[in-house]
């Protein structure tokens, strides 16, 4: 299996094609659906047979009757997945046209997930903000909806600020059944409020996943000299001696990323750190395999 390089993916202007490339590349390995559980409806018990997944063993019956029974489910309705996409200006980094921006990377990941979910017969929706206005596409299945969603993704631009807590809360409300909420963001904004809303959504029964997108330059901080750093979202500037603060900056970023991972683990969320220099296909595969093994 060959991974598509970020450069190839970035060069693929057709987002649907890019999503398909990513998913098909990942799919070439045999696997089972990483999205399962909440959307499957219990149908019946049957005696346990050797080879059955112990996950489906009914421990309560075993405790009561000392007999082994496996539970069987029927996928009556499709699973609903809500993609929450950060379109704040910070996602526009790096702005160099020759490099894959975080926004483009996140868009490709979201499109690939939508493609994958739809192809499994599940429903997928999208919620984000455009000019401080919520942009919402309800979770549905089917190819036409997928095309619509990808077209919506393709039109999105990274600009302005966003309120992650507000968007996540809204996503949890709009997802009428228990489903999966996947937040694709750099999680720079409103860290505490975001965590609070994620936990609240989880308490509502949703399966939460955090895909944190970062650029290598944000982590490595290879800058030198006197630079006026301008915040992509607020436009404020800070003049720093980049070489002098590089070490402290890296420490701060590492601590932040570690904190995000630990919070996700503590709260029972899926978490993946996606670096834009890693092929989206490989990053998605790692995330889905980890999720599928839960």
């Amino acid at each position: 299996m060959s991974a598509l390089s970020p450069a190839v993916v970035a060069a693929t202007r057709d987002l649907e094609l890019a999503a398909r490339l990513v998913v098909e590349g990942w799919r070439s390995g045999a696997h089972r659906s990483p999205f399962h559980g909440y959307n499957a409806e219990f149908q019946q018990h049957r005696p346990y047979r050797i080879g059955d997944d112990l996950k489906y063993l009914d421990w309560k019956i075993l405790a009561r009757t000392d007999r082994l029974y496996s539970r069987q489910f029927r996928e009556t309705t499709s699973m609903s997945v809500m993609l929450v996409l950060d379109t704040s200006a910070s996602m526009a980094f790096p702005e160099d046209a020759t490099q894959l921006s975080k926004h483009r990377y996140a868009t490709i990941i979201a499109a690939a997930l939508a493609y994958l979910i739809t192809s499994q017969g599940d429903a997928v929706g999208l919620i984000t903000t455009v000019d401080d206005r919520l942009e919402y596409l309800p979770a549905r299945g089917g190819r036409p909806h997928l095309r619509s969603l990808i077209a919506r993704l393709d039109r999105l631009e990274a600009a302005g600020e966003w309120q992650p807590d507000r968007v996540i809360a809204r996503a949890a409300e709009l997802l009428d059944r228990r489903g999966v909420i996947i937040v694709v963001s750099d999680f720079y904004d409103a860290e505490d409020a975001t965590r609070t809303e994620l936990r609240r959504a989880a308490r509502r029964g949703h399966d939460m996943a955090m895909l944190q997108v970062v650029s290598p330059e944000e982590v490595a901080f290879p800058f030198r000299g006197s630079l006026a750093f301008e915040d992509l979202e607020s436009g404020t500037r800070q003049l720093v001696d980049a070489g002098a603060i590089a070490m402290a900056y890296r420490d701060n970023v590492s601590a932040f990323l570690k904190r995000c991972r630990e919070h996700a683990t503590t709260d029972g969320f899926d978490y993946a750190l996606l670096s834009t220099d890693v092929p989206p296909e490989a990053a998605l595969r790692a995330f889905l395999l980890r999720r599928g093994s839960r």
Partner: protein, 382 residues
């Protein structure tokens, strides 16, 4: 090391330029758009009006470039030993060879002093441009040598080859030479025993002692004037404390007194037994007290000359009174009058400079500076 253009060091003032550029770079700091400033830290923020060096290594390299360029413009000259010898070969010399009577004598090795002097002059002449002046009066030839050297470019030097009898060269001659002309003295040693073969020796007081050689009686007689002076009992040593007169037969010395001065008795005692001395007395000639030595030898004859010589030898070796004047210029005097070629060498430098090595260093440093700037890959990203 010699700097031929030391005023170029004023160029070091240009060091202020990169320093100011570094200090004022803040005003032209490049803008780097970045996702968030939350990790930059407040403490690292550069105060708006604060001046600070943000890349001391780069600044140091830029300053070094200017220093190297300035040093190159100052036209350095490395004064290495091999260059000194090479430089010596390029000195233009005026070689003055003393051919006076004193140089007619032989050297201790047996060769004629003039012949040795000429050989020495030829050896010096092989090193470069030169002129050789043979003269019986080196003192007078120095002015002409200096005049010729003044027409020559580069380093110049006068070389005088002589036995340096007193009076051959005087200090005023050396002082008259231009300051940028070097001066060398080459002494030709002559054998001191050469006079043993002489048959007649006389000396006369002409300020400094001059030895006149005469090989035959005829030659002695030819010194008529001198001998006449001796015959007349004239003072033969210019010593105000010890005056000696030789009284030949037939000269009326007037009233005489016994020898009662210690130095007179001492001198008489030093005369050899067969010195033809009749008697010694103290008398007055030309108003001054003198030791009168009466001899039976006739003036203008070989015995007369021998007696005069014996008296002079006894006089010169007498321990009391003033010391005998030296026959030749002392080595210390010649050393004091010498001027090293280095004085003239400075004038010979204009055609040579080692500035190229500093230019090369400056070029290397420019490469290092460029590399250092490129080491900041994202400083220009904005």
């Amino acid at each position: 090391m010699i700097w031929r253009n030391p005023w170029a060091w004023l160029g070091l003032l240009t060091i202020a330029v990169p320093v100011l550029i570094h200090l004022l770079t803040r005003r032209t700091a490049r803008v780097q758009r970045f996702p968030t400033l939350r990790f930059l830290g407040e403490s690292a923020q550069i105060a708006a009006r604060r001046l600070r060096l943000h890349d001391p290594l780069l600044l140091a390299v830029r300053i070094l470039i200017l220093v190297m360029a300035t040093a190159a413009l100052a036209q350095p000259y490395f004064d290495r030993p091999d260059r000194q010898s090479r430089g010596a070969r390029t000195i233009t010399r005026a070689i003055v060879v003393d051919t006076s009577a004193s140089m007619q004598r032989a050297t201790p090795a047996g060769r004629g002093a003039i012949e040795v002097a000429r050989d020495s002059a030829r050896t010096l002449a092989e090193a470069g441009a030169h002129t050789i002046v043979e003269t019986t009066a080196p003192s007078q030839a120095l002015a002409g040598a200096a005049a010729w050297l003044n027409t020559q470019p580069g380093a110049r030097e006068v070389v005088v080859i002589s036995d340096f009898q007193l009076g051959a060269v005087v200090e005023a001659d050396v002082a008259a030479l231009p300051a940028d002309i070097g001066v060398q003295w080459k002494r030709i040693e002559v054998a001191p025993g050469v006079n043993q073969a002489t048959t007649a020796v006389t000396r006369a007081s002409i300020g400094n002692t001059v030895r006149v050689l005469a090989q035959t009686n005829a030659a002695v007689r030819a010194q008529a004037t001198l001998n006449a002076a001796i015959a007349a009992g004239a003072p033969i040593k210019d010593d105000t404390t010890r005056r000696v007169a030789i009284v030949f037969p037939g000269f009326d010395a007037g009233n005489t007194q016994p020898v009662d001065r210690p130095w007179m008795g001492d001198l008489v005692a030093r005369l050899p037994a067969d010195s033809l001395l009749l008697r010694a007395a103290r008398g007055t000639i030309d108003g001054s007290e003198q030791l009168l030595l009466f001899t039976r030898a006739e003036p203008g004859t070989l015995p007369g000359a021998r007696f005069v010589s014996a008296v002079l030898d006894a006089y010169d070796t007498a321990p009391s009174g003033a010391e005998r004047d030296p026959d030749v210029l002392a080595d210390t005097t010649l050393a004091r009058w010498s001027r090293e070629a280095s004085e003239a060498k400075r004038a010979a430098l204009p055609d040579v400079s080692d500035g190229r090595w500093f230019w090369l260093l400056a070029l290397l440093l420019i490469g290092v500076e460029s590399w250092l700037r490129r080491k900041q890959p994202h400083a220009h990203a904005a």
